[in-house]
């Protein structure tokens, strides 16, 4: 059994040296031999700069081969990688790199502003590796990505422990600052090994990699094919948003396994001209991250009848922990979303009521998960860590915060959330993070953000009030949000009021606002 994610690559490099490992968005293909060699070289470079076990290395790169080489190189050096959304506002990226105190950064030349150094606090970076040409001389010492992977020599030897951190994934935080979910090699391996047992991949498979690398779907996308010697087809950020070309890509490359959010599958269905393309090699379609409206899932299944569809459920903190296989024929009269199903074999699941008593019947309660894939904690967040876990008979259970109920035949059925987190296009959004961004607008006095169900998912509505004077325009507010928040967090609607409704205890009356949001057309 592997103890470290790099062992998957090393074993495949031995067994499948000349087979394609990663197909870059440019079309360039790296074999397993290439990938392992470049990752070894990068590890040696990082180690030479003093990066080692216990360290974090930020990766701010567009999706592609370089990013995959970086992840393996960093892990081989003994450190954990911290992927940062290449397309998100610079301030958010810098917040993340600063929060977890990276010792080194691998960064695209187009987004050097993200470096903590630029804000004066990151001068202790041991190495800054820059991918692509820089237009101006830099104030800091950097190495080009090509130089960093050029040096030859023996692979470095590091003592490896399954309990070392492999990566930190940042998700939206309720206090307004993203929080880092720490995952160890043991966490990731237990999940990937479960995937092997259900999806039975082989070296003949061709996996899509649609999700951004800072998103937890990428863990299956990257490590499952690498473990089995299969090919990983990395889909660029641009292609990923273009359903027509994406459908063509799936057909032309004869992909066999697809994994994305339901939002992307719905886009493919609505704009991809799917009937024009032969996808007969596609054998598995996985979706996760949000509820898939059944009418869209059914329409997709009619167009793509061959693959087996699975609904995967799990927060970043556990990765996938329950799953449901969708029946081969979805009845015409079914409206209810499919359940999230039963616990994966490497996890245990439990429903507790508000008083911590176990629910065994069909009442609603909070879903708790235990098992080897459960994360070790949030980076530097003692308060959240204390609240996240429950010790029960010596077992550590993670409180997902998701409300579910049990169905005798279908397993768990997702009901919703009790707190202010919502899911949109598969992303977790803490509404408080949007409010905090809005409060920075000089004209705004109050901001309260609520979510309301929409035809195809969730609509986010911001209710605002202003300090006297002319209120900002909606165009102005959207653009303002665009400078601080990733696109999926920008509210759909802005409603400006004289004063926000308050409860008798003078708190913002979110219930009243939810009602108003619901009735907005």
């Amino acid at each position: 059994m592997a103890q470290h994610l790099a062992e998957y690559l090393e074993a495949s490099a031995d067994k499948y040296r000349d087979r394609p490992a990663v197909v870059d968005p440019t079309g360039h293909t790296a074999t397993y031999g290439d990938l392992n060699r470049e990752a070894d070289a990068l590890a040696r470079f990082l180690a030479g700069r003093g990066v080692g076990p216990g360290d974090r290395v930020g990766v701010v790169l567009p999706k592609g081969l370089r990013a995959v080489v970086s992840f393996f190189g960093i892990m081989k050096a003994g450190a954990a990688y911290v992927p940062v959304d290449f397309t998100a506002p610079v301030e958010r990226g810098r917040q993340i790199l600063t929060d977890c105190g990276v010792q080194s950064v691998i960064v695209d030349a187009r987004c050097l502003d993200v470096l903590p150094h630029a804000s004066g606090s990151g001068s202790d970076l041991r190495a800054v590796i820059v991918a692509g040409a820089t237009s101006e001389p830099l104030a800091i010492s950097t190495t080009s990505f090509e130089d960093a992977i050029r040096e030859g020599g023996q692979p470095i030897r590091r003592t490896r422990s399954a309990n070392d951190l492999a990566y930190i994934l940042y998700t939206s935080g309720s206090t307004g600052v993203p929080k880092g979910v720490m995952l160890t090699h043991a966490n990731a391996l237990s999940f990937v090994d479960w995937c092997s047992s259900i999806f039975l991949p082989s070296e003949e498979d061709r996996f899509s990699s649609h999700a951004p690398f800072h998103f937890d779907l990428s863990i299956l996308d990257i490590y499952l094919p690498i473990k089995h010697g299969a090919a990983l087809y990395v889909i660029s950020e641009d292609l990923g948003k273009n359903p027509k070309d994406l459908a063509r890509f799936i057909a032309a490359n004869q992909l066999t396994v697809w994994y994305s959010t339901p939002s992307i599958l719905t886009l493919l269905l609505q704009f991809g001209d799917l009937e024009r393309h032969d996808v007969s090699r596609l054998r598995i379609v996985l979706f996760a991250g949000e509820v898939f409206p059944v009418k869209h899932l059914r329409a997709l299944q009619r167009l793509w009848p061959k693959p087996v569809y699975y609904n995967l459920y799990g927060p970043t903190e556990t990765n996938v922990c329950t799953f449901a296989r969708i029946p081969a024929h979805i009845p015409d009269d079914r409206d209810a979303p499919y359940p999230i199903g039963f616990a994966c074999s490497h996890c245990a699941a439990l429903i507790l009521d508000a008083d911590g008593r176990e629910i065994t019947g069909d009442e609603e309660g909070l879903l708790y998960i235990s098992g080897p894939s459960v994360f070790s904690g949030y980076w530097n967040r003692p308060v959240e860590n204390a609240a996240a876990f429950l010790d029960r008979d010596g077992v550590r259970w993670y409180n997902t915060g998701d409300v579910v109920r049990r169905d005798a035949n279908d397993g768990f059925i997702y009901v919703g959330r009790k707190d202010r987190m919502v899911k949109r296009r598969g992303y977790r959004i803490e509404l408080g993070e949007i409010e905090r961004a809005l409060y920075l607008h000089p004209s705004l006095r109050e901001a309260a953000v609520v979510a309301a169900p929409d035809v195809d998912g969730t609509k986010i509505v911001a209710f605002l009030s202003c300090h006297g004077g002319k209120p900002p325009s909606i165009v102005d507010l959207k653009m303002f949000c665009g400078t601080a928040l990733p696109g999926y967090m920008i509210p759909d609607r802005f409603v400006i009021e004289d004063r926000l409704p308050r409860t008798s205890t003078d708190k913002v009356d979110y219930q009243a606002l939810k009602g108003r949001a619901h009735s907005l057309r």
Binding site: D238, S473, D476, I490
Partner: protein, 94 residues
């Protein structure tokens, strides 16, 4: 040309900026690079334009450099309308 700009403006206002007045969405207001329109909105707007004006738009036409303002979008439509309909387009092989 003015008619095309107004049709695009009205579609964007009604679909993505309900409640906003037309004067705040200028011909040169950046739409994509500013975050006003996301990728789904660009697809929906493209679909609207194709139906309304009978032109075919490909990935080249709708990239952020050519599709970022109402002025650019309207200009693209006018150019397309002046072309022979059988023009094969860029195909999107990038």
């Amino acid at each position: 040309m003015n008619e095309i700009r107004e049709a695009i403006r009205q579609f964007i206002l009604a679909t993505y900026l309900p409640g906003e007045s037309a004067e705040n969405l200028g011909d040169r207001t950046p739409l994509v690079t500013s975050g006003l329109l996301d990728s789904l909105a660009v697809l929906e707007l493209t679909s609207f334009i194709q139906k309304r004006f009978g032109v075919e738009l490909d990935v080249y036409d709708t990239s952020a450099e050519r599709f970022n303002t109402i002025e650019e979008i309207a200009g693209g439509i006018v150019r397309k309308q002046g072309q022979v309909p059988s023009h094969p387009g860029g195909g999107g092989a990038s």
